[in-house]
Amino acid sequence: MTDALTTPLVSVKNLSKAYRRGNQLVPVLEEISFDIASGEFLALMGPSGSGKSTLLNLIAGIDKVDSGTIVIGGIEITTLTEAELASWRAANVGFIFQFYNLIPVLTAFENVELPLLLTGLSRKNRHEHVATVLSLVNLTDRADHYPSELSGGQQQRVAIARAMVTDPAILVADEPTGDLDRVSAGEILSLMGRLVADFGKTVIMVTHDPKAAEKANRMIHLEKGLLVNGDALVNHDLQHVHP
């Protein structure tokens, strides 16, 4: 047994977060603790206002906790400064948004290239990486289209390519199918499943759509900032096979 098997990739301990609304402190997450193993496809579910997006943001390092720790890949990200977090994110996290969040003035190719600009890679190297992930999501022929010229599903695939281009360990998705029709949604979810199965990525997805959750191999429910049950569902099809 190697460390990769026994040590969880993500370890959340006693996480608490509250938001200030006027004079009041509204608690969103209360002393949450759980682990995520490498290669999991996790669905974070719960009703609106349950804190699932907040939890996602905290794990992805784009928000700061009030108390508790988050350790990812051995690094306690809760102690990092803003600048350190930015660098950490660039190398370790790929984010997929509900509304794709592509830059409108950049082509699909340039959007995917964007995260690579933070690395020291040469132009040639960058372009190779972009080409690779674009073919992965089957959009090579649309590389020089602007987001406004792409359908919702295509835009989300560009977004996924962008999330993958730096080869991060974790992919974080906030309602990735929320704005898509049934067919496109299905395509996106399958794609994400392949990223876990074929490339060993760890995917953490927030959703309120039970059909989307079906693709995941583990579900966590949140209700009013608290975990309801630990591991609700295990999808054997997606179980990562270790050598």
């Binding site: 830059i103 950049l106 995260p115 600009l117 933070l118």
Partner: protein, 385 residues
């Protein structure tokens, strides 16, 4: 560089908005340039002054004259190289619309005193020989199409009557800034006519122009002249040509200051407009900035993009404004020739214009840059959808 690509494309994302903003900045910069030139023109007389020329006039005011007998006494003072004397004539040519300066002057000394007036030797001789001859600057001669030998008639205002002259010499300015729109005629002609018509006004000079050997002697010679005539019936006041011109300028200073203030106000107005545009633009893009931050871009990347866009649009408007200033200046020169016969835009003005444009871009970009750079990711992302 990538950030330049981003700036360029973002700048023209909303073509209409970009066009309007650039147009607004261009108009403001053009107006600023025109006003700046206007103020500069006012001080042009000061620029043209020589450090080796002094002006002596009646201490009471310019409306009083000095006896012609002062000439010999001034000439003998140490440090004085040459002396000329003259009277402001202020005659009208055809009608009041055709205004140009005209003066009666001791012409031989005038040409010595003003080496920047370049005259062909044969014209000079003809001028000095003809009592009714007059000397005209090239720009003025060109404006009315005068040629050597042409008769010119002025209607006197201070010295009534119809005064007839013959154009004997045309002078060209040695430098670009030399005044070329003046008509000079013989003081003796004025004096002789006065002796016959209004004798009590004869033998008087409106002012003396003194040429000194070295600029450092200016204060000394000026003091000597005034001391010579103090406690006499016509006390003098002598100062450098520059001080004399400055005195004139100071009298209309209030208007000039007002115009200068207005030229800065125009920049402030467009700064407000540009700031508004950038603020709106930045607000609309907060989601994008947040997304980039998620990807790992830091605050200075965002700041560079926003600030760069503001500066880019402003400078684009600035350059357009500078280019527009030239045809505008040309129009002013032709249509408002009565007020502004020469409206030349200087290099300094252009520099000021570009600086102003840059300033607009900087100020307009400050708040949006700060906003974009400091937006908390979670807050920014919430703006999408």
């Amino acid at each position: 560089m990538f950030i330049l690509k981003l700036i360029l494309r973002n700048a023209f994302r909303h073509r209409l908005r970009a066009l309007l903003t650039i147009t607004g900045v261009a108009i403001a910069i053009t107006a600023f340039g025109l006003l700046h030139t206007l103020v500069g023109l006012w001080y042009l007389g000061v620029e043209r002054s020589s450090a080796t020329r002094l002006v002596t006039r009646n201490a009471i005011s310019l409306t009083f004259s000095l006896p012609i007998s002062y000439y010999d006494r001034i000439r003998q003072l140490p440090g004085v190289k040459s002396v000329a004397y003259g009277n402001w004539f202020g005659g009208t040519y055809i009608d009041e619309k055709h205004f140009f300066a005209n003066e009666a002057f001791e012409l031989k000394s005038l040409l010595e005193l003003y080496p920047e007036f370049v005259v062909l030797p044969e014209q000079r001789d003809a001028l000095l020989r003809d009592r009714r001859g007059c000397l005209v600057g090239k720009k003025l001669a060109d404006k009315y199409g005068w040629k050597i030998g042409d008769p010119i008639t002025l209607k006197g205002t201070i010295f009534p009557g119809q005064w007839e002259f013959v154009l004997r010499a045309i002078y060209q300015g040695a430098e670009k800034s030399t005044e070329e729109r003046v008509l000079f005629f013989h003081w003796d002609y004025l004096n002789e006519t006065l002796k016959k018509t209004v004798p009590r006004r004869a033998d008087q000079a409106g002012f003396y122009m003194i040429g000194i050997n070295r600029p450092e002697q200016a204060a000394e010679v000026a003091g000597a002249v005034d001391a010579l005539f103090s406690n006499s019936l016509a006390e003098t006041r002598t100062e450098t040509e520059k001080a004399f011109q400055l005195g004139f300028v100071a009298m209309t200073e209030a208007i000039m200051i007002a115009i200068q203030i207005v030229s800065y106000v125009v920049i402030v107005i467009i700064m407000v407009v540009a700031a508004n545009t950038m603020a709106m633009t930045a607000r609309e893009r907060l989601g994008e900035y947040a997304t980039m931050k998620v990807m790992g871009f830091k605050w200075h990347h965002i700041a560079g993009a926003v600030f760069g866009e503001s500066l880019f649009i402003a400078l684009l408007g600035g350059v357009t404004g500078v280019l527009l200033t030239f045809p505008a200046g040309q129009w002013i020169e032709t249509e408002l020739a009565q007020f502004f016969p020469a409206f030349v835009i200087s290099r300094e003005t252009i520099l000021m214009q570009l600086t102003a444009a840059a300033l607009v871009g900087i100020v307009a970009g400050l708040f949006p840059t700060w906003r974009g750079a400091t937006i908390r990711i979670a807050d920014g992302l919430r703006r999408i959808g």
